[in-house]
Symmetry: C3
Subunit: 266 residues, 3 copies
């Protein structure tokens, strides 16, 4: 038997009935679905963090995986409910940007506006489309229904960028876009942007501290600051066995500046 | 292959071995069971919150689902272990009220006192019946054993009500029965109780504030107080993209009063 | 269809993409695997707690279960990646002691040093072997590959003991090795060590308080201190419906002393 995978990302936390209700709805429609939590601890109403998480995680899942993201401060308004088919997977959620980074990265094939009431629960609460619209849509898709059954095609979605990034005179300006539970500062600066010179020549500035690039945490002493190419291929600022966020008192959106020194022609 | 669903609700949290041990016991007896967490973050020993969660969530699951609830301050005493068959599903847990609201809502068919040692682990700890009694019982049930194998039938269980509700002279008094992770105040006042007049005429009093009923969050400005029929069909007090609990400093059990004004005969 | 079980234990928490990425990697390689979280709330970098959890939980899982533990402060250094086959199950993780207590308890059959790149993701990050090495190894094993494919056999692993235990002149000295979410103090003193005399004669000393052994929590009044043989067969210090950790201000590693009184020859 085939087990289609449905992932869930939300800001619902684990104390309340909401996540379990979504799972019950899914399993009632599609008993063979395999449900995986990405995270339900997105900061409340923080579309940016939800988008970061989904965009980091999705491509590790198999082709055809159905991802549902519910960070939805506009629930009950006229914001659209979306089903997006990329070259690889399916994404379901509100049209507020939470799906934007991941679907652009994977390559959009079709955008559908979910309007077919047959894809939803019979009664739709104005406050919980995660359960009443998105979960049943995902379950019907897992059952093999054609994505186009969901509603009319759209041409575009609400955009969202994960931080600003610019380069000028050999200097790169980026941002902290996520602070993980260890206190690592994840930036929006991909390793490809650093690739033109020898990486050991880079000087990274964050909060008036400068730091050079390490290959692994244990190069530095315990509690020392370091920069590293993180597990998503982006520059990260860390402390070996400690919290860079605490050490530097950094918050999401704080700037990161990268200078290149000693890069003489070879 | 059929995947019977077993849900788990407890106050065990996610830091300790307890939940994973229950899952290991279940999968050792019933490898094909599909285990779903409702929540393990019920406040410690808070039977009321466990009962609210289970009662909110259960009916979203398929017929035949087996629900296990372990909020069990009396573990090791003479409080009974129960298996209850309703018109729709099965419920397993201690006889302390945690199962009462949901089984009364669904309609009790049979109450069994779990006493058959063949349904339990060989060694029963005095402190962890979740693992040693309730989990194996659920797994045997998932394997298709008859519920009546568990032990003798009982005629009644310990009762528990989710808050007091009364009406007098057109005024409804209810209570806050749950405060969710967003800070929404969920009351025990179902929409049916409000149904006799036009809902726009209702005046809702909570902590010396009065508020009228909205249709969706975004009717109000960000951080403004509102009342709404929540996703479980009960009156809720909320703040648009904020926490009503913080704004009003409310705790579980605090009273909600509803007056009806301007309701002239038509 | 067979569903091999893979469990995950880590200090990653639930806010970040890390756990979900491991699951995506596993399901991409072994779609039929059943993934169970033991806990991802091990205190950051705390190998001891990870070892305690895994050692408590593992034996409740079926023969052949594959356990992955990622508490890995030395990631990226020369610390080895291990696959250990015991008489009952498989264990995958860093060679830093986190696997040691459980594999010694179950009985080591083979220790493999994971070096075969075919068992890993094509690109290995220096900071996240949980995703790039351990998860794919577990998935290949779930697919039925021979453990010896992982790499060469080793003769020994890094040891770790869960607290010190000694006996002298009829006195037993042990330690608090875990404080659970309820505030129960779990010690490293197994009931077998207490077995030579009548248990009612024992006097247990912790933080200048003395306490005798109870059979179950409710023997004592609410909020009273008690000692009990816990659900893992080890001595625990508890408070009935309260937190012993708060009442006594105890931390992991604090000593527990057991005296035997009134033990006259019979």
């Amino acid at each position: 038997m085939h087990h289609p995978i449905i992932t869930l990302t939300s800001d619902f936390g684990y104390r309340d009935p909401y996540v379990a209700e979504m799972k019950g709805v899914i399993l009632s429609i599609s008993p063979q679905a395999s449900i995986i939590d990405i995270s339900h601890q997105v900061d409340k109403f923080n579309i940016q963090t939800g988008a970061f998480l989904l965009s980091s995680v999705a491509s590790y899942y198999p082709k055809g995986t159905i991802h549902v993201a519910v960070v939805d401060p506009g629930v009950g308004t006229s914001r659209k409910a979306l089903l997006i088919e990329t070259t690889k997977q399916f994404f379901i959620g509100p049209d507020n940007g939470v799906l934007a980074p991941v679907v652009h990265r994977q390559g959009i094939q079709h955008i559908y506006h979910i309007t077919n009431f047959d894809m939803m629960l019979p009664k739709i609460s104005p406050t919980f489309h995660g359960r009443d619209v998105f979960a049943p849509m995902a379950a019907h898709l897992a059952n093999g229904i054609s994505p186009s059954t969901s509603g009319p095609e759209l041409q575009k979605i609400t955009l969202l960028e994960l931080g600003g990034l610019r380069k000028k005179n050999g200097i790169i300006w980026g941002e902290v876009i996520h602070i993980d539970d260890f206190g690592n500062l994840i930036t929006n600066i991909p390793v490809e942007e650093l690739g033109l010179s020898d990486l050991v020549n880079l000087v990274i500035q964050v909060k008036n501290k400068t730091v050079k690039l390490s290959q692994f945490f244990a190069e530095k002493k315990k509690k020392e600051l370091l920069a590293i190419i993180g597990s998503h291929g982006q520059l990260e600022i860390s402390v070996n066995q400690g919290s860079a966020a605490k050490k530097l008192n950094v918050k999401i959106g704080d700037p990161i500046k990268i200078l290149e020194i000693l890069s003489y022609p070879q």
